[in-house]
Amino acid sequence: MKKLILLFILITIFGLSACTETAPKTRAVYMLLDTSGTYTEELKKAQTIINYLLGNLANGDSLAVARIDSGSFSEKDILHKVTFDSRPSRANEQKRAFKRKVDEFVASVKSASHTDISGGLLQATEFLNETGASEKFVLIFSDMEEDLKKGHVRDFSIPLVGIKVVALNVTKLRMDIVDPREYLNRLDMWEKKVLDGGGKWTVLNDLERLENLLKV
């Protein structure tokens, strides 16, 4: 009988320890939109991706969309950011508001003279680390051709530990068609930069396969 009581107490203790409140598994996504040159024409595709994200992110997840322009390491470049409420009805309202903001931006976007991808990436890491999410993603919707303003310093390693960087819709430039090695070298350079920072690197050009987007 004593053994039974002891067993019951042990089971209760283990049960209670298993039932303690734990941090939920949340995801945080930071999407960078390239607004330089003619790439703005591609932003319609970015809208589809954002809608996909809004449809798939759950309560407690975070989403931010920022533009890449001449100097992207700035909060001013964040178009909209949100952490979805724990109540489904409120989260749905937030998603609707987010969609409206993105639609307005796409409708009124102006081309930037320079492309500061590294600055945007650095800004993204700051946001993602602040969210404290368990899964962090940076989605870069760009041709990955960096064009820094004179005087901007970006040749250093960006800390990307625990962050998955996905390059989306990396279009081929005119020079890439002439010499494809340019394109490959450009991707290799970014891969090296991400891996050096401790992150993970993926390229996703086929936007029909968005289901793989948020897989760690």
Binding site: A18, C19, T20, E21, T22, A23, P24, K25, T26, N51, Y52, L54, G55, A58, N59, G60, S86, R87, P88, S89, A91, N92, K95, R96, K99
Partner: protein, 496 residues
């Protein structure tokens, strides 16, 4: 020194070194043959005995478990039969209270009916007809001749008429009284019918009690068999218990499915109340809250069934005072009704959230938001389901009780089967170990077959040499024998 260096100790050539090692090993094995055989056989015997002992212990445990299981089955059967007999007695008591308690009144009613019939019968007794002297007088007066005085004739006629009239009056009176008697007999008819009906009622009541008494007799026979601990009774109860186990298991499975549907109905709207992000262990708080509601409903159902004395999982509830039990019935039913209402409202909220989600998805996909027609039908359906399911879950207590009771038997039977299998495996292992020892001894001899063959050959030659060495002595012995016999025979002749 590594193993490869050790292997190539005798020569750098692996083949040669292997050969030398083989010879050394075989030689050592040959000289150590007898103790090695003894060790192998001893080990095999040790293992066999160990396994046999294990098998015997397991067998004994299995028998003890079987005995215990039989006791459990018989006790459960005894309790169940006691309950059945008790219930039958309650029914008989109810019949007696309902029908036979009014027996004195019925008896009085029947007596009254009989008295009334008797009185009516007496009243209807036929009065004797008018005496025949009247007829004679009339006849005599009619026969008197009318000769002579006409006055006398007239007087006689008057007397005759008067007597005739009186006779007619008497007949009339008689008919009247007959009619009255017939009326009385007619009045007796409903009293007869009433009497017949009352007697039929008594008959059906008595027959019902007789049937119940037959059932009680049958149950008592079963009870007696169980009390005596017959194997037949144990087998019967085991079979019944297995059937109960599978049937209650099936019903519980259906209930679990119902519980899952219930969970699906309230889990999403729960996140609107407690938030959808917080987690308790591997589950979200909303899911845990939904599960808690379902569990509370099941618990309330259990208490309700216990209070109604349908199940007997908690003896403390069953033995409560009737007033307290009634209070408990009221409280548990009220809580169930409140939870059912909460579930119905949550189900409605779930429908609203689903609609909102659908609209958002359509908007994100760039589609025009379309309001579905007749959306109120699934909404009402979900609400009704949310209200009914808690009450349906309350009845889980009945199969749960059967399942718990029968699972004791099933677990016991499974335990016995496992122990028997273990016992068999232990015996098999013992046998394999013993035969394996013999096999190893043979294998040992196979490895050293060459020196053994040489030894055998040498032994044979040694024996042949011995035989050859012994042969001349044999011849000499034979000649000596012959000589002795001839001497003996010559002595005999001399004697003769």
């Amino acid at each position: 020194m590594s193993s490869s260096n050790l292997w190539l100790l005798w020569s750098n050539n692996a083949g040669v070194s292997t050969g030398i090692w083989f010879i050394i090993i075989v030689t050592l094995m040959y000289f150590g043959r007898t103790p090695a055989h003894e060790i192998l056989r001893g080990l095999a015997r040790l293992l066999r005995n160990g396994f046999r002992y294990t098998s015997r212990s397991i067998n004994s445990l299995s028998k003890r478990l079987q005995q215990r299981n039989k006791e459990v089955i018989l006790t459960a059967g005894k309790e169940s039969t006691e309950r059945l007999i008790e219930r039958e007695f309650h029914r008989v008591n109810a019949v007696v209270e309902r029908d036979l308690s009014s027996y004195p009144a019925l008896h009085r009613q029947i007596s009254d009916s009989i008295n009334r019939i008797e009185e009516d019968y007496r009243g209807s007794t036929e009065t004797p007809p008018s005496p025949p002297a009247w007829l004679d007088a009339v006849e005599t007066i009619a026969k008197i001749p009318r000769t002579g005085d006409p006055t006398i004739g007239r007087i006689l006629d008057d007397i005759h008429d008067t007597i005739e009239r009186a006779h007619k009056d008497t007949l009339k009176e008689y008919r009247k009284s007959s009619l009255g008697r017939h009326d009385l007999l007619k009045k007796m008819l409903p009293a007869w019918r009433r009497l017949s009906q009352d007697l039929n009622d008594v008959k059906s009541t008595i027959e019902g009690i007789q049937e119940r008494s037959k059932i009680i007799d049958h149950q008592m026979e079963t009870y007696e068999e169980i009390r005596q601990g017959n194997d037949r009774a144990a087998r019967m109860l085991t079979s019944s218990s297995l059937t109960q186990f599978f049937i209650s298991g099936l019903v519980l499975f259906i209930a679990i499915m119902g519980g899952i549907i219930n969970f699906q109905l309230i889990a999403l709207p729960m996140s609107e109340m407690v938030g959808g992000t917080a987690q308790l262990g591997p589950l979200s708080t909303a899911d845990v809250a939904a599960l808690v509601i379902i569990m509370v409903e099941v618990a309330m159902g259990l208490f309700l069934m216990e209070s109604l004395r349908i199940t007997r999982l908690f003896p403390i509830i069953g033995t409560m005072e009737d007033q307290m039990r009634r209070r408990m019935i009221l409280i548990t039913f009220t809580i169930l009704a409140i939870l059912a209402s909460v579930e119905a409202s949550l189900a409605y909220m779930r429908d609203l959230l689903a609609a909102d989600r659908e609209a958002l998805t359509q908007s994100l996909a760039g589609m025009e938001i379309v309001q579905a027609q007749f959306r109120w039908i699934p909404s009402i359906g979900q609400m009704v389901m949310g209200f009914i399911l808690p009450f349906a879950l309350a009845f889980v207590a009945i199969p749960l009780e059967s399942f718990i009771h029968s699972s004791r038997t099933v677990l016991g039977l499974t335990g016995i089967a496992v122990l028997r299998l273990l016992s068999f495996l232990a015996r098999l292992c013992g046998h394999i170990a013993f035969q394996g020892g013999n096999l190893l001894v043979n294998f040992y001899d196979l490895v050293i077959f060459l020196p053994l063959k040489i030894e055998h050959h040498l032994h044979q030659r040694q024996q042949l040499n011995l035989i050859k060495a012994e042969k001349p002595d044999m011849k000499k012995l034979a000649t000596d024998k012959k000589k002795t016999e001839s001497v003996k025979s010559s002595d005999g002749v001399h004697t003769l």
